[in-house]
Amino acid sequence: MTVTEQEITDYVARVRAALADLPAAQRDELTEDLPDHLAEVAAEAEGTLIERLGEPETYAAELRAAAGAPAGGRNLDQRVASAVVRARRRLRVLDTRLGPPLGYETASDFLRLLRPGWWVLRGYLAAMLVTVLSTGGSFGLLPRFGGELLAGLIMLIGFLLVSIWIGRRSPRLSRWPRWALHAGSLVLVVFALASLIQAEDRMRYGDYGYDPISVDDPYERVRDVFVYDSEGRLVENARLFDQNGDPIRLGYPDCADLADAYGGKPVLRAYPYCPDQAPFGPRAPGAPVPTVESVPDPTGLPQADPNPGPTSTPTSTPPATPTGTPTAAPNPTATR
C-alpha cells in the first residue's frame, strides 16, 4: 500500500475545508466515512490519492453535487482555494517546461541549488539594512554599525551565520515563523531593489555616495591681509610665519603697480599687498586725520620694522612717501 495514513488524513482535511460552507452536521455526515472509504480506495490500486482521485477540492465539488448538498455559490475561501490550486498547477507545468533549457529536470531543481546562495545574500542584505537604519542615509558596499566598520563586519558575520542556520531549518518551521520569515525576506528584497536603483543613479551621475562636503581652501577668497596693531593702526610690511618659520602666503597682489619692485616675485612681498584697500581707517580721536593714510608704499623691505614702533619716527619709514602716516601715529600716544 503506497498511501499513508497521513496522506488520507490530509486529503480528508482538504475535502472538509472545501465543504466548509455547509452546515456542520451535513458536512460531518458527508465526510464521516470518508477516511475509511479512502483507505479502501488506497488498498485497491497503486499511486497517490491525488493521482487517482484528483485534487481534494475537485473531489469535494463532485461529492457535494452527488450528495445533493446545496451546491450554493462557492464562498470566497473556496474560490481563493481553487484559484490557488489552478495557479499551482500552472506553476508546475511552467516548472517542468523551464527545466530542460536550464539543463535540469525542472526549474525548481535548479533554483534549489541556489538556495544557500540566497541565504548568504539574505544575511548581507540584513546587515546592510541595519547599516542604513543605524547610520542613516548614505552607505557604501560594506556594512557599518552606527558608522563603525569593524562592528559592521562583526554584525555581517553574525547575520550570515544566522541566515544560513535559519535557511537549513526553514523546512521544519511551523506556519507562523515561516510566514514571518517570508515577510522578512520580502522586505529585504524590496530594500535590495531600492538600494540597487539608488546606487545605479549615483554611479551614473558620478558621485558615489559622498555628500557634497566642501574641501575647498577656506582662505581661497582671501586676496590680501591687513594687520592692525593694538592701537588700531595698520601695520605695514607685515609678514606671517607658521610655527616652523615658514612664511604663510595668502592672497595675491592685485596692485600690479608695485609688483616690479620685488623683481616680479610676489612671494617676497609683505602684507598688505595693497595698503590703500585697507578695510578700516585709523582711529582718529582728536586730530583731523587724513583718510588716505596708507599711502606709504612698502618700497624698502628692510624698513618694514620701524613701522610697528613708529611713534616718533615718521620720517625714517618713508624715504619717498612722507604724507599721512606720521601725523596719525603721534595722535594715540598723545591721548593716552
Binding site: 475509511d36 479502501e40 488506497a42 488498498a43 473531489y59 461529492l63
Partner: protein
Amino acid sequence: MDTTQLLKGVLDLAVLAVLREEDGYGYDILRRLREAGLEEVGDASVYGTLRRLFAAGLLTTYVVPSESGPHRKYYALNAAGRDQLTRSGKLWRSFATTMDSLLDDQGRAA
C-alpha cells in the same frame, strides 16, 4: 451534452441497480459501474450518492473485516431501497422510451 451530465440524474438508479444483485463496498460499487459501461463516473459521485441514499433510509450498511487491508463498509438494499429501485426503474423506462421515440421521429424527419 456529455455522459457526466446525464449521470447526475440517474446515478441513484444506477447505484441501486448495482446493489440489487449483490451487496458491495464503495470502491467495489464504483468498479461495477465502470465495468457496466459508466466509465466516466467518479469516486466522489459514488461515495456521495451512497451517503445520500443511506441518509434517505434506502440502504443499510455493515462492516466486514478484511485480512489484508482496511475494513470494508458494505452497502445493501433494504425494503425501501428495493421499492425505490422499482419505482425509479419504471420511471426511467418510460422516460427512455419517450426519448427513444422522440429521437426516432427526429431521425425519420431528418
